[in-house]
């Protein structure tokens, strides 16, 4: 056997081991998710039964029908989309503008401004919730989408995240464009943004998921059921004394997770594409 082919073989074994190791990690990570999925199809008595089982013995769709019959499901899902989608779109636009200024338009005080913005992440939201609410109420936005969306239309987290990413983009391109007389907005729009697609997608999915799953925010800002989100709506199925109908909760979250998972599948493909097409490598 030549040394070359043995090296190739070693590489192959290495790759195989790598793959197997990743498979084990991924399965461990997935186990709680598998429990969620299977529980959604279990009848009530089986969720609490002993001995416990991973796979339902008796598959049922009852949990799903309960959600559709006991909650204004379509309205809640629609609200979730408008709320999470609205926040995400606004935040992407406003955060990227601000991040561009902070990362690529050097000005005096930019570092101080950044520290202030990042510091605002360090106060727990429990401390500012009531003043925010009073402001929203002042504007008459309780029980409206404005109240849900506008306070989150820009956020320190997104600005910080995008600023770090924009910093890493090479400056050669925009300097060249500047010499050609391109305006800042043009540079932002046609050079920086297209190159930052992975970052924008990452932030977009982060913002969308967090708002979609947020419980307290919609509960506080909407008191009417028809303005709630699917996540806040599901709490209504909690029984007295905090007894949670787990099957229904899992079914509800499964329905909620599907759009997110599909979205991520799409996004992660764009990841590879966008990086391949930017010509940055």
């Amino acid at each position: 056997m030549t040394s070359l082919s043995s090296r190739v073989a070693a590489r192959r074994v290495g790759s195989g081991l790598f793959f197997v190791a990743m498979l084990v990690v991924a399965l461990l990570v997935l186990l709680p998710i598998v429990i969620i999925v299977f529980t959604a199809f279990k009848p009530v008595a089986e969720v609490n039964a002993f001995p416990p089982s991973l796979v339902p013995g008796d598959w049922t769709l009852d949990n799903f029908t309960r959600i559709f019959t006991e909650l204004p499901f379509a309205r809640l899902i629609l609200n979730s989309f408008v709320f999470a989608g609205g926040v995400t779109l606004c935040a992407l636009v406003f955060d990227s503008l601000a991040a561009y200024a902070l990362a690529r338009m050097d000005f005096r005080g930019s570092r101080v401004l950044l520290v202030i913005i990042v510091a605002s992440l360090m106060i727990p939201f429990q401390a500012t919730l009531i003043p925010i609410y009073q402001l929203v109420a002042e504007f008459g936005w309780v029980n409206t989408f404005w109240g849900l969306i506008i306070p989150r239309a820009a956020d320190a987290f997104g600005i910080f995240f995008l600023r770090q990413f924009f910093l890493s983009l090479p400056r050669d391109l925009d300097n060249a464009a500047r010499i050609d007389g391109a305006s800042e907005f043009r540079i932002f729009r046609s050079i920086v943004l297209p190159n930052a697609v992975p970052a924008l997608l990452t932030l977009g999915i982060y913002t969308f998921v967090n708002n979609w799953n947020d419980l307290l925010w919609p509960l506080v800002f909407t008191t009417k059921q028809e303005m709630g989100t699917i996540t806040s709506g599901l709490t209504l199925l909690t029984g007295p004394s905090g007894i949670v109908p787990y099957g229904v909760m899992m079914a509800g979250s499964l329905i909620a997770v599907v759009p997110l998972a599909v979205m991520f599948l799409f996004v992660q493909r764009r990841f590879i594409e966008s990086v391949a097409s930017t010509g940055l490598k």
Binding site: S15, F18, F19, M22, A26, V29, L31, P32, I33, I35, I36, T39, F50, P52, L97, A98, A101, R104, M105, D106, F107, I117, V118, A119, S120, L121, M122, I123, P124, Q126, A127, T128, L135, I150, P151, A154, A156, F160, F161, F165, L167, S168, L169, P170, R171, N175, E184, F188, T202, V209, N213, M249, M250, S253, V257, F264, Q268, F271, L280, K281
Partner: protein, 315 residues
């Protein structure tokens, strides 16, 4: 190509062309900067900074939220540092941060490199799989973990029974509860950090790795001399975000242990919630929040200086 480190040369705007004077040009530039910042800053000013100032004012009062309030000076702040429960919750929070942040960051970086490696088959599938914990809501995830870990009716105990092994009641054990909660938090949080690292890794030009290889650098040396320094901005972001998340631990503890057993998982933000929303003592909750803010800020700045010095040493 410039290496994206903190020590990049400062950008100087090119001289304006045509007949415009430098003064007008500078004013115009200021206006431009303002235009980029304005929408975001307007929203932050109204819904972030103003509420923060409001909370700062409340921290010097005995406000309950219903109108009657009196200025009581530093009383709330004194209580923060003298109430044994609060002091203990600070210790718990630090313990949680130590258990959570390094584990989550290292795991995220390792897995990001793994799913970025061309040698891994089915990369796209792995990426989606490993990202899933981030998408499920915490309440649901907590249920799944309890279903696994419950000492009486949990799956893990039932499965291990075959081998004669029993895991104890980890969530009700004063020593093990915090590590267990931190484990669940790592599971829930690493995917996002991983994706951030992945985005950062994808920015590193592969030509740099080829060059390092040509110079005879091994995998460790390539990681140390190419990956880490070029990932500086990303790592800085992840470290700060993970630190903030760790010091604000609330959700997972609220749903999994409620602060027990014997307050061993009671964190600062759990205390803030308890004071503000259970005891209706907004003044005290605000004061504690500001103490937390300052502590987080100090910790972050220390980390920032350490990492930026290391970057300088590396480059």
């Amino acid at each position: 190509m410039t290496a994206p480190t903190a020590s990049r040369p400062r950008y100087r705007p090119p001289a304006q062309l045509g007949g415009r004077g430098p003064i007008r040009g500078r004013a115009k530039r200021r206006l431009q900067i303002a235009a980029f910042l304005a929408p975001a800053l307007a929203i932050l000013a109204l819904f972030v900074f103003w509420p923060m100032l409001s909370a700062l004012r409340l921290s010097f009062t005995d406000a309950s939220g219903f109108g009657r309030e009196q200025y009581i000076g530093l009383e709330n702040y004194v209580e923060v540092f003298t109430d044994p429960d609060i002091v203990r919750s600070m210790g718990n929070t630090l313990l949680y941060a130590v258990l959570f942040a390094p584990a989550a960051i290292v795991l995220a970086l390792l897995l990001a490199m793994a799913i970025n490696s061309p040698r891994l088959p089915l990369r796209g599938v792995f990426r989606t799989w490993l990202f899933l914990p981030f998408i499920v809501s915490l309440a649901v995830a907590a249920f799944a973990w309890q279903y696994l870990l419950d000492p009486q009716v949990g799956l893990l105990n039932y499965w291990l029974q075959v081998f004669g092994v029993r895991i104890g009641n980890v969530l009700q054990d004063p020593v093990l509860a915090m590590p267990t909660v931190a484990l669940v938090a790592v599971w829930k949080s690493f995917p996002f950090y991983m994706i951030v690292f992945l985005a950062g890794l994808q920015e590193i030009p592969s030509s740099l790795y080829e060059a390092a290889k040509m110079d005879g650098a091994g995998p460790w040396s390539r990681f140390r001399n190419v990956t880490l320094p070029l990932l500086g901005n990303t790592t800085g972001f992840v470290v700060i975000i993970a630190t903030i998340a760790a010091l604000q631990a609330f959700d997972q503890i609220y749903v999994m242990t409620g602060g027990g057993p014997y307050k061993s998982t009671q964190t600062v933000v759990m205390q803030i919630y308890q004071s503000g929303f259970k005891d209706l003592d907004l003044g005290f909750a605000s004061a504690l929040s500001y103490v937390l803010l300052v502590a987080t800020l100090v910790l972050s700045l220390v980390q920032f200086f350490i990492t930026s010095r290391r970057e300088k040493d590396a480059s």
